[in-house]
């Protein structure tokens, strides 16, 4: 039992730390590497819960998460970074500097603990106690999404948000049904593919993926 709780807390801690690292680092290639690590931590959460609950189906989901989040999506992101003029680029000029961003993430984590009190109280268990971590990662992802200017960084923010939501889904330990899980994964994958293609097109027509150049449409 203690081994289960410790390993679950370790995996959730890894999830939160990688989220902070993604907010902290500016080099896009480092962000993508951290993102792969986070995918592994997410798969570990699912695997630990599967082992604890003797749930082979959740074990299969964990394997799927590992393939999708730790291998396929980072690979897609790296391809998006690919051969353009900003290959190996840095993020660059975020709207909010790194120190302020880290403080914001700390504040968001506290906020996550505050708002998810009803959730942890709903069904007290080691997994439910970790739900605020999932919410904190989701909020950090939303924060990255709105404060970064590179297309690839925004994409990373979107995926961070999605990792947080998936972790929350695992930690509530309520089965959503295989069809919904498959559909959600497929939609996320397709959305990322679509965004990757659009980022490529943006590079073709704008010469860069700096979203500051997106000034054609406004009122």
């Amino acid at each position: 039992m203690t081994g289960y709780v410790q390993s679950l807390d370790l995996a959730c801690g890894a999830l939160l730390v990688t989220a902070v690292v993604i907010v902290w680092r500016r080099r896009l290639s480092a962000i993508i590497r951290t993102f792969a690590l986070q995918g592994t931590a997410l798969a570990a959460i699912a695997a630990i819960l599967a082992a604890h609950g003797h749930d082979p189906r959740l074990g299969a989901v964990a394997a799927g998460v590992l393939v999708l989040r730790a291998v396929a999506l980072p690979w897609l992101l790296r391809r998006a970074l690919g051969s353009g003029p900003d290959a190996g680029g840095r993020e660059t000029r975020p709207l909010i500097n790194v120190t302020a961003s880290l403080l914001a993430v700390a504040a968001l984590t506290m906020l996550a603990y505050a708002v998810s009190r009803p959730l942890t109280a709903l069904d007290p268990s080691p997994a439910a106690d970790a739900i605020p971590v999932g919410i904190a990662v989701t909020l950090s992802g939303f924060f990255v999404l709105v404060t970064r200017r590179r297309a690839v960084s925004q994409l990373a923010g979107f995926l961070l948000m999605d990792n947080g939501i998936t972790a929350t889904g695992f930690l509530t330990t309520a089965d959503t049904g295989l069809l919904v899980e498959l559909g959600v994964s497929l939609d996320v994958l397709l959305a990322v593919v679509v965004l990757r293609v659009l980022a490529g097109r943006m590079r073709d027509v704008f010469g860069d993926t700096d979203l500051d150049d997106l000034r054609e449409l406004r009122d």
């Binding site: 708002v115 009803p118 959730l119 109280a121 709903l122 069904d123 919410i135 989701t138 939303f142 999404l145 297309a151 925004q154 979107f158 948000m161 999605d162 939501i165 929350t168 889904g169 509530t172 330990t173 309520a174 089965d175 959503t176 049904g177 069809l179 919904v180 559909g183 959600v184 497929l186 939609d187 397709l190 959305a191 679509v194 965004l195 293609v197 659009l198 980022a199 097109r201 943006m202 027509v205 704008f206 979203l211 997106l214 054609e216 449409l217 009122d219």
Partner: protein, 500 residues
């Protein structure tokens, strides 16, 4: 047989999409798309006629109740309008060199998948499948928005996918929390709409409150409601005209239908106060955004997009008022807005082809040059502004009366003032485009090239407008006499309020 009728709105468009994938876009296959939409409409009408109550099929995967049937009628009728106008529009684009038959084939495949995803979203028996289908509409339409591959189109597509995916991700979080609450209640309901509603009293209120707020804001993104509406004017402005018609006329309503169902469950758990406050804030915010940005609008497609935000805001206020009468008015408003806005976007697409500009000040004296197009646009704008005999008049009156009757008097009065401002702005912009003399704009339209393209398009422009005339006529007839649809509207509203 009923199972087949229920599955048809999803299966037929998927089959037609495969046909386009294999056969490409030809004069013959061009008419497959309207046939597919007509079949959707026919199966919706048949379901409404033969099916008295709610019925599940395909192992409980899909369910058709009265609300589903009504939403399928909306999808089918606006889909028929948009796809019937597509062949003429695509021919115009190909003639102008802005598209090839390959672009046309890809356009048709994606539009069919888009229609199938929307039908799946309203047919789904569970909230989870509805979420998957609504996110699938984002994926299907992303490349339709960016079809022209110009700077503006790619930018609009990027914003559209990022904002909608982030918003709908919030809804996913809400969905997971609601699922946790349902699992804790121990009713074994999963995310099935009907079973969630039946077990609603056992859901944990504190968790449900967080979940419902996330779901309403998340689906509200896709419905174009205020805080996360920023994608809408860009996407509607840049998408090809028939796609704008579908997005504005149906997609927003399909997302709003999910909000209505979430609200129905939330009201059983939390009482009506919570969703009423939330929806009233979102609705009033949308009206405020629309009014402030419509006054100085310079682009007529964006003008129509902001008008969509306004109408979604009005529907949100109707949903905030709640009750069978207000909800019936909201549903009628969905259909009327879909027909009127769909007609206007199709007309705007033809106007863009005829004049070569989407700027309001680039179009002058349309009434003297292209009288039929001008008449359609004028009638459509009058319908949007809520003038009788169009059905939007009846539904707006219904929503406003319900608002005053349920103690939302202050909010409704503010909304009424904003609606008057919006109407004035719409009429001012439109009259400048339709009336006046052509002489001033003629030379400014871009010399020989522009005017010859306009001249060549003139006869073609008129040819593609038959669906628009029929849709506007239907919208006017609905305002005077709803016929058997009135019964469907009221029983659909009753399925939401659970008072059969």
């Amino acid at each position: 047989m009923v199972t087949l009728l229920m599955a048809a709105p999803v299966l037929v468009p998927v089959c037609v999409a495969i046909c386009y994938l294999l056969a490409g876009w030809r004069p013959l296959t061009a008419w497959l798309a309207p046939v597919s939409a007509a079949l959707t409409l026919a199966s919706a009408l048949a379901l409404a006629a033969v099916l008295p109550g709610s019925r599940a099929a395909l192992d409980g995967l899909i369910r058709a109740d009265r609300l589903t049937e009504f939403m399928l009628i909306v999808i089918g009728s606006v889909g028929l309008l948009a796809t019937a106008a597509t062949p003429a529009w695509l021919r115009g684009e190909i003639a102008a060199g802005r598209a090839t038959t390959r672009t046309a084939a890809r356009h048709s495949v994606l539009v069919q998948l888009f229609l199938a995803a929307m039908a799946a979203a309203v047919l789904a028996a569970s909230l989870g499948v509805t979420w998957v289908a609504i996110e699938a509409t984002t994926v299907a339409t992303a490349f339709l928005v960016g079809q022209r591959r110009t700077r503006a189109a790619v930018e609009a597509a990027w914003k559209y996918v990022v904002i909608c995916s982030a918003g709908i991700a919030l809804a996913l979080l809400g969905l997971l929390l609601l699922n946790a609450a349902a699992a804790h209640a121990g009713a074994g309901t999963g995310l099935d709409w009907a079973r969630l509603a039946a077990a609603a009293t056992r859901l944990n209120p504190a968790v449900t409150r967080i979940a419902v707020a996330l779901l309403i804001v998340g689906f509200g993104t896709k419905a174009g409601l205020a805080p996360l509406h920023a994608w809408l004017p860009d996407a509607h402005g840049q998408a090809p005209a028939p796609v704008s018609a579908l997005m504005s006329g149906v997609l927003l309503s399909v997302a709003f239908c999910a909000i209505l169902r979430v609200t129905a469950i939330a009201d059983l758990v939390l009482g009506t106060g919570f969703t009423r406050a939330l929806l009233a804030v979102l609705g009033l915010g949308s009206l405020l955004v629309a009014a402030s940005l419509l006054i100085r609008q310079r682009d007529y497609k964006r003008m129509l997009a902001y008008s969509s935000i306004e109408h979604m805001g009005v529907m949100a206020l109707g949903a905030a008022a709640g009750g069978p009468l207000a909800l019936a008015a909201v549903l009628l408003h969905m259909l009327g807005h879909g027909l009127a806005k769909g007609s206007l976007f199709v007309s705007a697409g033809r106007m863009l082809q005829a004049t070569g500009t989407s700027r309001i000040d680039g179009v002058r004296g349309l009434a003297s040059r292209l009288p039929l197009l001008a008449a359609c646009t004028g009638a459509g704008v009058l319908a949007l502004a809520g003038f009788p005999p169009f059905s939007l008049f009846a539904s707006e009156i219904g929503i406003i009366r319900a608002g005053f009757a349920t103690g939302l008097g202050g909010v409704t009065a503010a909304a009424l003032i904003l609606m008057i401002v919006i109407t004035a702005a719409l009429l001012a912009h439109t009259s400048r485009m339709l009336l006046g003399t052509d002489a001033a704009a003629g030379p400014a339209a871009g010399g020989g090239n522009g005017s010859s393209a306009g001249g060549a398009g003139a006869s073609d422009v008129t040819a593609g407008l038959a669906p628009v005339v029929i849709a506007l006529a239907a919208c006017a007839v609905l305002g005077l006499y709803a016929g058997p649809l009135a019964g469907l509207l009221h029983s659909a509203a009753h399925t939401l309020t659970r008072t059969p």
